[in-house]
Point group: C2
Chain length 191, copies 2
């Protein structure tokens, strides 16, 4: 990989190492992930293999699947990136959606996601406090454990706002199509 092409594929490696200490792990639905103490988020590189991991997940950043031009303009104006010094809390939330979701055509998925569930508008409400990066997993191979991994970063004072964001999304019609979800909370413990 040359310097001109930034990695889009990331490994989330859970075990005894990594800069992020696991403070809590909750299985919301479906099969739980094994326990671990720390997580490292590692950009993919040729020949990378996670060693001695409790578990390891992969996800890739990609083009927007639902966002319109107006929504994108508003999001870009308001959002901030990962790595802010004060945002030393993180959450790793892998989810899987049902076969019924994936069988829906594009217009019906968009309708459930935004017209019924306000997914994009809800996320917008918590910007810039809650930074996020969405990683896609479903199309990495025929049989993946999750469809998406979202990584969130925020300051400790915004934890209750983050909990509210998640509760709102989980109560939405879109979440009827989620059949596996874990919620792993982390604190940055130094590199």
């Amino acid at each position: 990989m040359t310097a001109a092409i930034p990695a889009r594929l990331f490994h989330f490696v859970a075990g005894n190492n990594g800069p992020w200490r696991i403070e809590g792990a909750q299985c919301i639905s479906g099969a739980p992930l094994p326990a671990a103490a720390r997580i490292a988020m590692v950009p993919d590189s040729p020949g990378f293999h996670p060693d001695r991991a409790s578990w390891s997940l992969r996800g890739i950043t990609s083009n927007e699947r639902y966002v319109t031009r107006d929504e994108k303009t508003a999001l870009v104006a308001k959002q901030e990136g990962l790595g802010r010094p004060q945002a030393n809390c993180a959450a790793l939330i892998p989810i899987r959606k049902t076969a019924a979701w994936w069988a829906l055509p594009q217009d019906e998925r968009r309708h459930i996601l935004e017209a019924q569930s306000q997914h994009i508008a809800i996320g917008m409400k918590y910007l810039p406090a809650i930074a996020r990066r969405l990683h896609h997993c479903r199309d990495l191979g025929s049989d993946q454990p999750f469809d998406f991994i979202t990584w969130f970063e925020f300051a400790p004072a915004d934890t209750s706002a983050f909990d509210e964001l998640l509760a709102t999304l989980r109560a939405s019609p879109e979440w009827n199509y989620v059949d596996r979800e874990s919620d792993i909370r982390l604190v940055h413990a130094g590199d």
Copy 2:
């Protein structure tokens, strides 16, 4: 992988083996693929590695990205699957789209693809004669050689209709965003 989960990931392995004989290979834009005599389309399986291949590409079938409910209903009613005995001609067409395409929000990509270019309507016009399966490549890793691989199957008598279909798509505004394309024509030569 269990029997309950059909493979979505396929390898297109070009070399001296495989049931499909290459009758012609044309580079439409971007870097060409090396010459080869035959192609095998192989569902992914654990530990599969193509041996002695001239080249090998991978792609995965996925959910629809643009098709609406009405379009899906019309397509499903009219299309036929791969493997029809009389459809012993095939084409393998890998394409890559520009960074500008991928930076567009969903509504603008849909607008170019269908409102401006009639991509879905044009494909529909040639059903059921021209069967197709779309494979996605872009999100298999950070730096893929192509974004899509489409595999087409048709009877010899439909070759000129297929050429017309391709000419129409390549003249559309959507193709301004295609920066690499090859067109490989094949005949089934026995398993």
